[in-house]
């Protein structure tokens, strides 16, 4: 045992430790994410059946999910779901909504302007910044190339 090299030790640890958390996390993320998207699809279909065009039904479906996620965040339920869902509750638009609502609640005590108002954007802000900026760069490229 004294001659155990670092490498051999790492190997031993790997064998002795329980199956990686990913073995459970990834299927859970798949399940939660799939269910949230299927629910979103349901909302979109309902809006279409109510006579809305695709152009409105798709964003309206997202807005319904955003409303639901914000409500569940306020009730303290979304964070509990996220503990199991991981990426499945982060990547859908509901994760974005949660990232806005959770700090809005948490930092209310620091005031409505620099607490609630500012901290709402601690994660959503960067997402908007880089999303909008990539869109503009794409726009400049296709405008210059005449490819639109």
């Amino acid at each position: 045992m004294e001659n155990l090299t670092n490498q051999a030790y790492t190997e031993m640890v790997k064998k002795a430790s329980p199956p990686s958390k990913s073995a459970k996390n990834i299927p859970m993320a798949f399940l939660f994410g799939g269910l949230i998207c299927a629910l979103g699809h349901f909302f979109i279909q309902m809006f279409k059946q109510a006579g809305l065009s695709d152009e409105i039904a798709f964003p309206a479906g997202s807005i319904a999910l955003i409303f639901l996620a914000v409500l569940l965040t306020g009730l303290g339920v979304y964070d509990k779901l996220a503990r199991h869902g991981g990426g499945g509750t982060l990547v859908p638009i509901t994760g974005f909504a949660n990232a806005i609502a959770a700090p809005a609640l948490e930092f209310k005590s620091e005031g409505y302007v620099l607490g609630l108002g500012a901290k709402m954007f601690s994660v959503a802000g960067p997402v908007i910044v880089y999303g909008v900026a990539s869109g503009i760069i794409y726009g400049v490229i296709i405008y210059l190339m005449g490819a639109y």
């Binding site: 990686s20 958390k21 990913s22 996390n25 990834i26 859970m28 993320a29 798949f30 994410g33 799939g34 269910l35 949230i36 998207c37 299927a38 979103g40 699809h41 349901f42 798709f58 964003p59 309206a60 479906g61 997202s62 999910l65 955003i66 914000v70 409500l71 306020g74 009730l75 964070d79 991981g86 990426g87 499945g88 982060l90 990547v91 859908p92 638009i93 909504a97 990232a99 806005i100 609502a101 609640l105 948490e106 209310k108 108002g117 601690s122 994660v123 960067p126 997402v127 880089y130 999303g131 909008v132 990539s134 869109g135 503009i136 794409y138 726009g139 490229i141 296709i142 405008y143 639109y148």
Partner: protein, 121 residues
Amino acid sequence: MEIFWEYAKAFLVGGLICAIGQVLIDYTKLTPARILVSFVVLGVVLGAVGVYQPLVEWAGGGASVPLTGWGNTIAQGTKDAIREKGLYGILSGGLGISAAGVAAAIFFGLAAGVVFKPKEK
């Protein structure tokens, strides 16, 4: 049967995109904020090269609900706006098409912050 397949497609594609997010959480040091930023930018790129919109048409909510779907919407909105309004569309397209969703997230978030009390962790 038709309707089952439709929801299965939404479930599979949405689940798969989220599973990729989980792989990034488990195997990289990316924070949730960085992952969300990456997904939006990736969505813009995939929308720009014309891969993502067909996926939305195929999987519906499965492709539009993940944050990559928002990126794609930004790309499609920018292209449409340039077609209609020229140079001005470069700036108005992305946020213009997402205005309702962003406004909803801001307003609902504010309302939740005002109405609800923070939960004990």
